[in-house]
Symmetry: C2
Subunit: 364 residues, 2 copies
């Protein structure tokens, strides 16, 4: 499989070496887990590459122990399709095993790390994200969403944890120095409080918790695991998702690169247009494509369809037809554009509905 344009690559120029990441972060390859859940797309299709204690978490799930999943988000703005990938795993796991889910929205993080200009924007974004979580299909009877700026009770737990982390530990994990702001330096403790929160007495006490993240967020999990040991809590488990490429190829999905990401609050028609501009694995000319076939493995459009909109059968057929020269890129792009447009319209109407009574879903 060609790597340059795969949806899970970090850049157009370089492939992500997931084995190297596993070594670097000191985690385990997902292949070491014998009890991987079946029928969950991200596992079935290999979008998860690494873990800590996931086998132990699944054992607890299967033996009906008290478990929970935690999946947070900072309040820099709407989620995009790349984020949806992680949330979908959680939605599927929740559905399959009736697992309670905790979703902290860290507007303080967005503010401290200058992703937003002020706390008012943080609050506005956080409420949008909360509504997007509802629209993603979480079972709201088993899901607790909390926004730091509103659920300030979290800071009492932060204070508790903050006694047992030294500056040197935080500096070592995060590479901070003395010119770092007090806020940035302290933020990892807030993040750890989020991760360990489901184990507080008020939420039913000590339990087995899974925290799916990008591996770049693993330092937070590490710090939380250290702190869990110090406070007699269970060390949270984690799974690490592969990276989804931008629609234009490369890793960067950002508002500052229009068309690189499909933000879930984007105008559906505009999003469809972005899809029509996406990078494919097509040949230089129609003739060449018909003759040599396209390169689905290098095609972002093919991968987006596979990840988000098609089942295995459809995807395999598309793959075959592409390589066989029976499909032109325009057709695939139209499919993706149509699927994205339909999805966004439906999703946004769900968000709108959820926004109307979002307060009933928020812990305050």
């Amino acid at each position: 499989m060609a790597k340059r344009l795969s949806p899970f690559e970090t850049s157009e120029e370089e492939s992500i070496d997931y084995n190297k990441l596993i070594k670097e972060f000191g985690t385990q390859p997902i292949s070491t887990v014998k009890n991987i859940p079946k029928g969950i797309k991200a596992f079935d299709d290999g979008y998860i590459f690494s873990h800590r204690d996931f086998d132990k978490f699944m054992k607890d799930v299967k033996s009906k122990k008290d478990v929970a999943i935690l999946t947070g988000f900072n309040a820099s703005g709407s989620i995009h399709l790349g984020h949806k990938l992680t949330f979908d795993v959680v939605v599927e796991l929740q559905k399959k095993y009736n697992i309670p889910v905790y979703i902290p929205i860290s507007d303080d993080e967005s503010y401290i790390f200058e992703k937003i200009d002020n706390q008012e924007v943080g609050m506005k974004n956080a409420r949008l994200i909360a509504a997007q979580m509802v629209a993603l299909g979480f079972d709201m009877k088993r899901t607790k969403i909390f926004i730091h700026q509103e659920y300030t009770d979290i800071y009492n737990f932060v204070i508790k944890l903050s006694k047992k982390v030294t500056l040197s530990t935080i500096k070592a994990i995060y590479g901070f120095n003395d010119s770092t702001s007090a806020g940035k330096m302290f933020y990892p403790v807030i993040q750890a409080a989020d991760i360990l929160l489901p184990q507080l007495d008020k939420f039913g006490g000590k339990k087995s918790v899974l925290v799916p993240v990008g591996i770049d967020q693993d330092p937070h999990v590490r710090l939380s695991r250290d702190l869990a040991a110090k406070f007699g809590l269970n060390k949270p488990a984690t799974i690490h998702m592969k990276y989804l490429s931008s629609l234009r190829g490369g890793p960067k999905m950002s508002k500052s690169l229009p068309g690189s990401a499909i933000f879930l609050n984007e105008d559906p028609k505009k999003a469809a247009k972005f899809c029509m501009q996406a990078l494919t694995g097509g040949r230089d000319t129609v003739e060449e494509q018909k003759k040599k076939g396209g390169e689905a493995d290098k095609c972002v459009v093919y991968h987006y369809l596979k990840v988000f909109f098609e089942d295995k059968k459809e995807s395999t057929k598309r793959h075959k037809n592409c390589y066989g020269g029976k499909l032109l890129c325009g057709e695939c792009k139209k499919c993706l554009a149509k699927d994205v447009e339909i999805y966004l319209k439906d999703f946004q109407s769900k968000v709108k509905k959820a926004e109307k009574n979002i307060d009933k879903y928020l812990i305050k």
Copy 2:
């Protein structure tokens, strides 16, 4: 005036050099203030020695500008007579000029700095202290008390301030290093949030704020003044109280030294007993005392009576009779014991009453 046993000395062995403290902390002697309020005991009797911008604050008071006083307390336990001295100044200033008062109770500080074992004790102590504040005579129509563990909204302001303080600034002010816990390192920002809180929009916006403290707490005021400038708020003013000696002489008032301090939740009879054991300025024998007279200036009992229970006339008379050999130490001790016992009985009944409906006085 002899210094060794004066109620405002820091130790039995050494005198406090208040001029040296003023130089060390870079503050101004209170003598530089021309508009000192009259009829307030601590000012009239010289218990305040230093300040920052107090002249400016008094100018704002006199010209009916928007002003407030902030006087906090950590939740390590009941207040004692030494603390009462500072609170009394605030009560008197509030009464004289109708000034709004803010009282943050920082249970997080007590916990982070290991003055208490857990947050539950912090909450219990904080509620006692809140009731003691009511009993001290604050005008509760103009007084807002808040406990950090309950008024966690304070942390949203802390987060805001934390962006504009670097680790190196905090290290320089407080002498912390990399083995310091994240909690201790972060605490100064929480303290600054307390001090600047009255200037938030929700409390009526920018105003002139006075923060009476012991000069050892001045670093907090300095950091707050720096942050005020960065956030377009007014720099808080401060006055520094002299130190009240322990009943046994020396500076240390602590539960671990029974009889060193009169905690305001002490059994009144036991407190009276402590008074009978207090250090005086008496001679070795009754004969010598009658002949040479006692040394009121060196006597803790004389000073406690003067500071807390007697007016100028009574105190002057006691001073004269002591030096004239007309008073024996036992008589003075009995007076103090009686006054303390009566005061504590009355105070504690007020506290009990306040505790019953303390929630109505707390911002949450």
